[in-house]
Symmetry: C2
Subunit: 108 residues, 2 copies
Amino acid sequence: MSEIANTPEPPYYAVIFTSERSDGDNGYGEMAEEMVRLAAAQPGFLGVESAREGVGITVSYWESLEAIHNWKQNERHMIAQQKGMSEWYLRYKTRVCKVERDYGFGRG
Amino acid sequence: MSEIANTPEPPYYAVIFTSERSDGDNGYGEMAEEMVRLAAAQPGFLGVESAREGVGITVSYWESLEAIHNWKQNERHMIAQQKGMSEWYLRYKTRVCKVERDYGFGRG
């Protein structure tokens, strides 16, 4: 289960990936887990948050645009992106953002 | 149920709100629906995406930082923010971002 990512002081970068799945698993669950493991091992990775309820929203956080670019070019990730279009998603949107400001709240 | 937001060409702004709920509804569901309606009526609102699965992620999209600021100062929204801290959330993080680039995929 996802938690709130423990990111450093801004500025840093966020990739918002919003998707609608097609029916059936077709290897999606296994690949999704592998992608989270692989992303977390990339240079410049800061954290990830994810939830699906009808639509799926995954936000990954990165130190730089270069780190995002390198992750997009990762060989296993490129295979996953291809399978995403051919099998797992009906549609998706990816937004690359600069986080300019953040604030939070927590009890206890 | 949330859908992928139909946003214009970048640049525009995103507010990523990631939260962990406390137990019980305590008026949360009703207020959450009101906030979505109210936000959608604000000047500069572009769209919203939302999912909860353990963690909740709501991303709202805006034309400008001024539009985000005005929404944060909305009277009903300020009451909701207060109740969020006192009742509905164990913790949350809000990130204000500039969307620099986006791309997508859709079938048919």
